[in-house]
Amino acid sequence: MLDITSQSLTSLVKNIKDKKLSSEEITKAFIDRSEKSKELNSYITEDFSNAIEKAKKFDQSPNLDLKLPGIPMAVKDLFCTKNLRTTAGSKILENFIPTYESTVTQNIWNEGAILLGKLNCDEFAMGSSNETSFYGNVQNPIDKGLVPGGSSGGSASAVSGQLTPITIGTDTGGSIRQPASFTGTVGLKPTYGSCSRYGIVAFASSLDQAGPMAQNVEDCALLQEVISTYDTKDSTSIEFKRNHYSKELNKDIKGKKIGIPKEYRVDGMPKEIEELWQKGIQYAKDCGAEIIDISLPHTSYALPTYYIVAPAEASSNLARYDGVKYGFRAKGENLIDMYEKTRSEGFGAEVQRRIMIGTYVLSSGYYDAYYLKAQKVRKLIKNDFDEAYKKVDAILTPSTPSSAFKIGEKKDDPVSMYLNDIFTVPVNLAGLPAMSIPAGHDGNGYPLGLQIIGKAFDEQGILNISYAIEDKINFKNKITDWWIK
């Protein structure tokens, strides 16, 4: 039998259209592999029997004009799915069953895809290793005991481990790109306003964006084409000309100007990351791109800015979890006591930490010193990019300052954990699109990623550059299926 789960999305779509595979065969293959992959802990909630029913129904009268005809896929458990539990990785939403569907997932089902289940993630997407999830650590398919990155750790693990052909994650400070880099997969964080935030459990509303994660750039382009729509239900959704990203995907990047920011060469960065970056630069040159040295002078201020802005927005967004209307409730002697105990028992340590940071920076007497200051520095960071984009079309950097680390290694040191996102956070603060593509391995055989940052709304530009470089790199993920007995 044709091996199904190792196929790309594009190949599966073709096989369905050519009637070589049925939706049921494909769906069953991914379910079968997911059943054998419990040790990865990629799923929080499975919806396998419904998925098979939907696949059978699809096969009875297949609409082959759809973009994702009968394709099964699991999604990050931050997207509300109607009538299927949505936890955001938190105890406080352990029993929450949405009565509505997120716009992004609705777009996916409208194109014929079938939901397999909900994937593990850091609690409320706050984390860089998936270790803050109430539903346990996720294993990186690359090696036992290795984090998959975060917060879209279950998503990255599921794509890398071939439990789903594609998936969607969310990226507030690097939560798509960093796990993609750690698992040898491709992830795209679109321009702020490109994909609707309606029905996505909110973390930091001025930074959150949904985006595709896949085995390759072509699959990413197709999924981006499906999920990016203007939506009146999200007041920050932006109307702009959205390309047919997959149709317009091409490797011709001759004459494209690619900027190399010197500030991304940070102290203590392993030699292999620097070498990877140089390799990426060479590949871009080989494709005919012009390399230009640029400066983004406020880069080192991005992370401190982020750790004011994101917790501030989170403290406000998470005020809704009070044990009254939905979610977990602890017993209390009175209303206030019930609120305080509910939030203390319902939220994990990292979420409580961030709510408290956010509350503090917004509190009377500290607002100007912290929150307003951070908003001003955020402006300077955005100005850096605006200046750079007068000279270049895109920017090339490493995705992360290291490869994946061990589970538990950074858990007790929040600042060292936060430093993981040093290369990804500036992009969110400026609202730009960026993607991570796998580009090599470190000494342990762990994957390393390169990040391509684009101008606002130029998803096509960075997809094309990634597509061209991907072709030169010819990356192969080293997956041994160690978790399958």
Partner: protein, 95 residues
């Protein structure tokens, strides 16, 4: 600048998260190391910089004020941790 136990207790009240003494001690350490890292922003003079509130440089669109979701009370109440069919129930607030 340093955050002490008293400040932690104050923030805990504001954020409606109860913390016992042991947890408060840990938070003092965590928040101080995070704020030490955040203080780096003070290196920058931002006197004449406009704060950035949104990266999306669009004006919010108006829509007509019409009810979009009708008759969804049962669905909404369904997720409540404690209900009496028609209302959300909370501990007694008026003596």
């Amino acid at each position: 600048m340093s955050i002490d136990l008293k400040t932690i207790k104050h923030i805990s009240k504001l954020s409606r998260i109860s913390v016992d003494d042991q947890k408060a001690e840990k938070l003092v350490g965590d928040l101080n190391s995070i704020f030490e890292f955040i203080e780096k922003l003070n290196e920058l003079n931002t006197d004449n910089v406009e704060p950035l509130t949104s990266v999306a440089e669009t004006t919010l669109k108006f829509r007509s004020d019409e009810v979009q979701s009708k008759n969804i009370r049962d669905q909404i109440i369904k997720n409540s941790p404690e209900d009496n069919e028609d209302f959300f129930v909370v501990p007694k607030v008026v003596e």
